[in-house]
């Protein structure tokens, strides 16, 4: 499954990058979403995929007998998801304001500043 995931993640990155490279600035939004999904899945995959063993300990138990999925990677992903969500929200509003102020959505026309 890791191989398959690696391919999916590669595609997510590629798609994200392609969208970030568009002139139409709103496509950036899609690019950022794809990128953060890709990065989160990458952490998930790199940490090792485990089926059906959530890191939840049963009532009355002290720990999980046997294998369990990596809780740390999950915590990292949670943090990363929330951060990228926040950043995305900011970026969306920024793009909206920028289009409003600059009166264009064409990145090629936003050359007023280097």
């Amino acid at each position: 499954m890791t191989t398959l995931m690696a391919i999916l993640i590669g595609c997510l990155y590629a798609a994200a990058i392609y969208m970030m490279l568009r002139r139409s600035v709103v496509k950036l939004v899609i690019g950022l979403i794809l990128l953060s999904n890709g990065a989160n899945l990458l952490i998930f995959t790199a940490a090792g995929l485990q089926r059906g063993v959530p890191p939840l300990i049963d009532k009355g138990q002290q720990m999980i007998a046997g294998a369990a999925a990596d809780p740390l990677a999950q915590a990292l992903i949670l943090t990363a998801i929330v951060i990228s969500f926040g950043v995305l929200a900011f970026a969306v509003v920024l793009i909206h304001r920028a289009c409003e102020v600059v009166q264009t959505d064409d990145m090629n026309e936003m050359k007023g500043t280097d």
């Binding site: 890791t2 191989t3 398959l4 995931m5 690696a6 999916l8 993640i9 590669g10 595609c11 990155y13 590629a14 990058i17 392609y18 490279l21 139409s24 709103v26 496509k27 939004v29 899945l41 998930f44 995959t45 790199a46 090792g48 485990q50 089926r51 890191p55 939840l56 300990i57 009532k59 002290q62 720990m63 369990a68 999925a69 990596d70 809780p71 740390l72 990677a73 999950q74 915590a75 992903i77 949670l78 943090t79 998801i81 929330v82 951060i83 969500f85 926040g86 995305l88 900011f90 509003v93 920024l94 909206h96 304001r97 409003e100 959505d105 064409d106 990145m107 090629n108 050359k111 500043t113």
Partner: protein, 789 residues
């Protein structure tokens, strides 16, 4: 005490503007008391130094790097100190009167005193680095002085030019000093000089080259000589000070100082004598063609500097003595002559030889001083300049390798020196009286004291050469030569070759003076040549710099975000790709076993979704697809045991869609703007990057073999974190700091969005009717332009 001498200049400099507003007209004299005191103090050291002793003081600065303020008084530095403080005394007094009433006179004193302090520090420093520090300070303070009339565009340009050239050299010098320090094992000149010669050291040539670069730029050696005449943009007291005894002599001082350690090699001899001779000739020929009084003086200074360099290049005992003698003579007459040029300007309003004649009767005292100084320059007996010139010729004649060539050059130069001397000694004073812009008259003591004294000293030393020789010059020459020098100075050596050459050049020079105008007309080609000269080169370089940087900025920082992204990504692909290709074995984790149906389906559908989201023609469609993508990704998290992550993913995706929807109708629609070629290029970059990521994951998952620290959390979650949801316990306890940072990120987003939307100016169409109207207009517009909305 030495430290105090140097420091006091800076302290007084800082106080000067305030002091000036208090004491007004007499400030110049008042401030001049300081150099006078310094002069007297150092003069009191003459007996000690002339007996071969040295004085050294050291104060810690950066001991870890062996950098300290250490001061060494020996013959050479003493000679310079006396010149700096002595001439400085007159210059301050002179400037006080010359610049009287100037609104920024206080600042002028500030920089002049600052310059004096720097110069004193430079020549007194025993530590190479502290020497360099003062070196740079002279550069900066002279920049401020040269640009004193800063509202004039040309002045600013010239000041900038002088600064660039000398700082360029300064930086080379610093590197050279570092190498010298490394080679000699010390930054202390006294130790370096006491140590062995470094001509055999492996770093010798680069070190020499760099140090010479520093010295040559500062001392205006060809091809860097052009900044010096341009520095005449400075007020005359500045020129008088900088170009007689101080600033430009710093390079010479340095060469003289380092001669025992770096001198004596073939490269030293070759470079110094050739550059020196070239400079000498360039300077004096240009001087002979100039008509501006200060300009002539400036070029003749270039000549003198070249001569000194040449002498130091020869490096013989005789040359050393000749060099210090010539240096002293030059300081005296050149200081006087510059001040006289200033007097002519100040009292008669003339700046050009062609505009002046016959002032002898109107300005008798000035004439006297001028003639004494100019004749000393011309090397006329019995002035001190004559002795200097005789020694020069002697040294050249006894020189080794380039004997003949150098002699011819020196004699040629001397012919023109005589011409220049004659110009200065005769042209303004004799002949028909021309009406000058101002009613000419002798100035007061403040202006006249300097030239008269210096010129008189030239006569005195000429008549009694033993005084400077015994008390000063021999010690100085010894320091230069590295061993005690035993020569004496005398006005009369009998009829010898140097004397004959002197007479030859004197007569030819006077002849040339008669045909000065014709000479200038016949040599007009030199002017044309100058467009290929070093100054033109400098200007080209600066223009080239600006146009190159403009081009670079246009290319790199072109305002196009996509280029930035492409460059960044290309860097990623190249550097990471390179690192991957370096691997001993590229072992990828390729394994399709154990796949489950639902997993494959979800991944497959996700791939379709991603592709569709990228190719979608409408933002809305993309957003809807992103929603679907979110569910798919959540499924993956669920399939691989991440319950909390799955839930969060679903929620975040939903709220993302809500947010997008809230701004959506105010965002422009997707447009297809890029050309097919650009899209292909972008797709290539994207696929390369994506492929690289895939490879990295496969590499890492294949190589990982270590146990993760996460087993700790699984063990301790219940027993020490009191929670069964390990992920949550990590979030709120084990790694609560991450979570803390993260909600602050959210808070920042909230503030950012809040302020972005409330601190705005634009107004939106608000009703449906408005909106439709706007859309209608947009459609009409796009129909005209043929772009799909």
């Amino acid at each position: 005490m030495v430290m105090i001498a140097v420091l006091s200049c800076f302290v007084l400099a800082a106080l000067a503007p305030r002091l000036h507003s208090l004491t007004g007209r007499q400030t110049g004299w008042l401030l001049a008391l300081l150099p006078a005191a310094i002069f007297l103090y150092f003069a009191s050291l003459i007996p000690l130094i002339s007996s071969g002793e040295t004085v050294r003081h050291a104060y810690q600065w950066l001991p870890s790097m062996a950098i300290q303020f250490s001061f060494l008084v020996d013959g050479l530095s003493l000679l310079f100190v006396l010149l700096i403080s002595g001439i400085g005394f007159f210059i301050l007094a002179y400037a006080g009167r010359y610049q009287e009433g100037h609104p920024a006179l206080g600042r002028f004193f500030l920089f002049l005193l600052g310059f004096m302090g720097s110069m004193l520090g430079l020549v007194l420093s025993d530590n190479l680095i502290s020497l360099f520090v003062f070196w740079e300070l002279t550069t900066i303070s002279s920049f401020m002085l040269i640009g004193f009339n800063h509202e004039d565009d040309d002045t600013r340009k010239k000041a900038h030019q002088g600064l660039m050239v000398t700082v360029f050299g300064g930086l080379a010098l610093m590197t050279g000093f570092i190498m010298l320090g490394m080679a000699a094992g010390s930054f202390e000149l006294s130790e370096i000089l006491a140590g062995p010669s470094l001509t055999e050291h492996s770093l010798y040539l680069p070190m020499l080259g760099l140090i010479l670069l520093g010295a040559f730029t500062k001392s205006a050696q060809t091809p860097f000589h052009f900044w010096l005449p341009n520095a005449m943009a400075a007020p005359t007291p500045v020129s008088a000070y900088l170009h007689s005894a101080t600033m430009v002599k710093a390079g010479i001082y340095l060469l003289a100082r380092l001669h025992p350690t770096l001198g004596g090699s073939a490269s030293w001899l070759t470079i110094l004598t050739l550059i020196g001779a070239l400079t000498m000739l360039t300077g004096i020929i240009l001087a002979s063609r100039s008509t501006g009084i200060k300009r002539v003086l400036a070029y003749s200074t270039v000549m003198a500097l070249g001569t000194l360099t040449m002498l130091l290049g020869l490096g013989t005992e005789k040359a050393a003595l000749a060099a210090v003698t010539f240096l002293l003579a030059h300081a005296l007459y050149k200081g006087a002559l510059f001040m006289i040029a200033g007097i002519l300007d100040h009292e008669a309003g003339v700046k050009d030889f062609r505009d002046v004649s016959g002032l002898r009767r109107l300005m008798p005292k000035t004439t006297l001083a001028a003639m004494l100084a100019a004749l000393s320059l011309a090397g006329v007996i019995p002035l001190f300049g004559f002795i200097g010139k005789e020694l020069l010729l002697e040294a050249v004649l006894s020189g080794s390798r380039w004997q003949l060539g150098l002699t011819i050059a020196t004699v040629t130069a001397n012919i023109f020196v005589v011409l220049v001397g004659a110009l200065l000694a005769l042209k303004p004073w004799f002949g028909k009286t021309i009406t000058t812009p101002k009613a000419a008259h002798d100035p007061g003591p403040a202006l006249l004291a300097g030239p008269l004294t210096l010129a008189a000293l030239g006569l005195l030393f000429g008549l009694m050469p033993a005084i400077p020789a015994d008390y000063l010059l021999r010690a100085a020459a010894s320091a230069v030569y590295g061993e005690p020098v035993s020569g004496t100075l005398a006005l009369w050596h009998g009829i010898n070759l140097p004397l004959m050459l002197s007479v030859l050049s004197l007569s030819l020079g006077l002849l040339l003076y008669r045909f000065w105008t014709g000479w200038r007309e016949h040599t007009i080609f030199i002017e044309r040549l100058s467009q290929f000269g070093p100054e033109a080169g400098y200007n080209k370089l600066m223009q080239g710099l600006v146009s190159f940087s403009t081009w670079q900025t246009k290319t790199l920082q072109n305002g196009n975000l996509r280029h930035y992204l492409i460059t960044t990504l290309a860097t990623v692909v190249l550097l990471v790709g390179w690192a991957v290709l370096r691997l001993d074995k590229i072992a990828l984790n390729i394994d399709f076993s154990g796949l489950q149906l639902q997993e494959v389906t979800v991944v497959g559908l996700l791939l379709i979704t991603v592709l569709a989201a990228v190719t979608a023609k409408s933002f809305l469609v993309s957003v809807a697809l992103i929603g679907a993508l979110g569910f798919g990704v959540a499924l993956i998290y669920v399939f691989f045991s991440a319950v909390d992550v799955g839930i969060t993913q679903v929620l975040v995706e939903t709220i993302t869609v809500l947010l997008l929807v809230l701004v959506l109708y105010r965002l422009p629609e997707f447009r297809q703007l890029s050309s097919r070629a650009n899209r292909a290029r972008d797709a290539t970059i994207a696929l390369l990057s994506g492929g690289l990521i895939t490879v990295l994951i496969l590499l890492v998952t294949n190589a990982s073999s270590m146990n993760s620290i996460s087993s700790y959390f699984l063990e301790k979650s219940v027993s020490e974190g009191y929670g069964r949801n390990v992920v949550n316990v990590i979030l709120v306890d084990f790694r609560a700091l991450d979570t803390l940072g993260e909600i602050f990120v959210l808070a920042l987003v909230a503030i950012g969005v809040y302020s972005m939307m409330h601190l705005r100016t634009g107004v939106l169409p608000v009703t449906n009717a408005d909106k439709r109207h706007a859309v209608q207009k947009q459609r009409e517009k796009s129909a005209k332009t043929g772009v799909k909305p």
